[in-house]
Symmetry: C2
Subunit: 362 residues, 2 copies
Amino acid sequence: MAKQRPTIRDVALAAGVSGPVVSTVLNNRTESTVRVSPQTRERVERVARELNYTPSILGRSLAQQKSYIVGLLLSAVNSPLAAEVIRGVQDIASPQRYSPMVFIHGNPEEEAAEFERSLDRRVDALIVDTFDTPADAGNVEAYRNLASTGFPLVELFGMSIPDVLRVNVDFEADARRATQHLLELGHRRIGLVVHEHYHKKETHWAGWGFYSGYRAVLEKAGLEPIVIPAPAVTAPGDGLAFIESGRYAGRELLALAERPTAVISYSNRRAYGVVQAFLSEGLKVPEDVSVLGYYERDVAVLTDPPLSSLCVAAREAGQAAAKIAFGIMQRKPVETVAVASEWMPRGSTSALSASQRNTIRP
Amino acid sequence: MAKQRPTIRDVALAAGVSGPVVSTVLNNRTESTVRVSPQTRERVERVARELNYTPSILGRSLAQQKSYIVGLLLSAVNSPLAAEVIRGVQDIASPQRYSPMVFIHGNPEEEAAEFERSLDRRVDALIVDTFDTPADAGNVEAYRNLASTGFPLVELFGMSIPDVLRVNVDFEADARRATQHLLELGHRRIGLVVHEHYHKKETHWAGWGFYSGYRAVLEKAGLEPIVIPAPAVTAPGDGLAFIESGRYAGRELLALAERPTAVISYSNRRAYGVVQAFLSEGLKVPEDVSVLGYYERDVAVLTDPPLSSLCVAAREAGQAAAKIAFGIMQRKPVETVAVASEWMPRGSTSALSASQRNTIRP
DNA sequence: TTGAAAGCGTTACCAT
DNA sequence: ATGGTAACGCTTTCAA
């Protein structure tokens, strides 16, 4: 039997004041029509502490018609990022008394059901993760409708919902940073392993953005892009297919007449496959070829050597999404944000060596 | 401007009945003092549908003094499992109109703060993940206190909170299954890579349990255990240390006079390290040595060959925890549960070959 | 079989 | 500067 929690009435009674006074005091409400004297204030605060009073969000919610809940509609596909995203949301939401409620789905039908559920829960805002999901048209329409009513709906890791503010990975800036890094290490032949449809800007904006950043930096340096298209992976599954795609790209790369001394790979899983292809040909990483990975954080650590890479800053993304959501709620000006990835220097890249120079241009 | 949602009053008015009738109908309340005729029932249902009415959980919560929220207090350490656990909880909670609210923490102070927050949110139940956290005494005490009031608190992946129902990994059964599998493949020299303190039953119950299951099966088969203690890993961090620990164990194993033809490794990260050690000595997996991993799901897929392993059934664990929580709430008999892991057959184990037989006993 | 009234804990508004 | 009162949307209980 849980002890009966004290209510605002108990505090009011014990402090010899009325309910509203307690409410005003404990919420530090200054611009209220209710003004309280310092003595009263102190007394109320003391009594509240003595009684171990914490206001019930249930009552508050009903009175204010606010749930103080921010919903997170997440795809099971990118589970690995979920915890960090939630944490980011929490970072921003907590100070505003908000808490994240999570709705995870594995397919469009579940997605629709969980979306409904989130509305039934009367979430005050909704962060929708459309990453890696071939967005279902019906669901997108539903999101769009909701957003068009002014409801704070933020898209995360996706570009599926029209006319909605979102948080994206800053593919182009990330690619620039990656390329720049390798340039600074002295590399001049820098390859890019990327989704084979990277040039289809409309549908593969991520790959396109990444490629654009890569090319921009190389062009500025007067160097030629060397793109190695990696086969598309249909089933995201557990990632095996991605690795296989990387192995394939790795072999392609080795077959080039003039082999790059460094490679950037979109997707750390692909990078892992690339490394495997190199190793199985007797090449050493990074001595013979530097490999710089991108995106997923979880894999980067597992190669030998561990992959230097840029990893999605999931927590920051969560924070950014929450900021936008609260911005909309509070009618502050906010806009779509691109979050730069996090630099994880490890052992798979190194400065261009003399022997590499020789190997390349004999 | 979000459209005003219809309230129960709107429905009542439109259907020409009173609020309680609507409430009774829409909740299919049979054992209520309020009985409604089939016609009325149908009319109410129709009107509700027409108005697109969905009851507000805010009002219901206040009236029933139930938040319909199950809290999940998770450690950031095992982020990878978070999404699956949440999903499992969702599986059980949703049909009961409950939703999971997630509270993630990175250290004991945050843990305490998030715990408080969850109580402030008036969660009706709390699932506490103490995995891998050297449980903070103060927090444990707080959990215990709460649980002792009859509050539905369930410990997940840990044994830190006394007198509390929990969901655990079934280490012993898992080890038995793993060992049995290798026996059935014909192996007779089966090694176990496990935390160096595995024999300290009290503090390292996981390792102990796993070892026990392993030994039990071997004994029954009249075989000798071959334990290779892996160095303790202090900083869980990103897992690099675990892999290093596995590499170390792998080298130890290779130095044995009579080398096992198969190894079970507690922790897939360690298994990964073991594989690396083997490969770097020119041994092939599974041709020369079979390697069977355990526990984390995320890594198992990344080795070459991918690791056959038993992986923690996180979603099932979440389900089990939720079931216990609801059981306590509804005063049904429930008890601590051990969840068996999931069998993920992949490429790192194979039947004992003739050549292996020869190598071992020349 | 139904309606009416009270109450859940809080906040907002209007009096004093 | 403070208190009273109504309201939020729903459920529960009692009366009809």
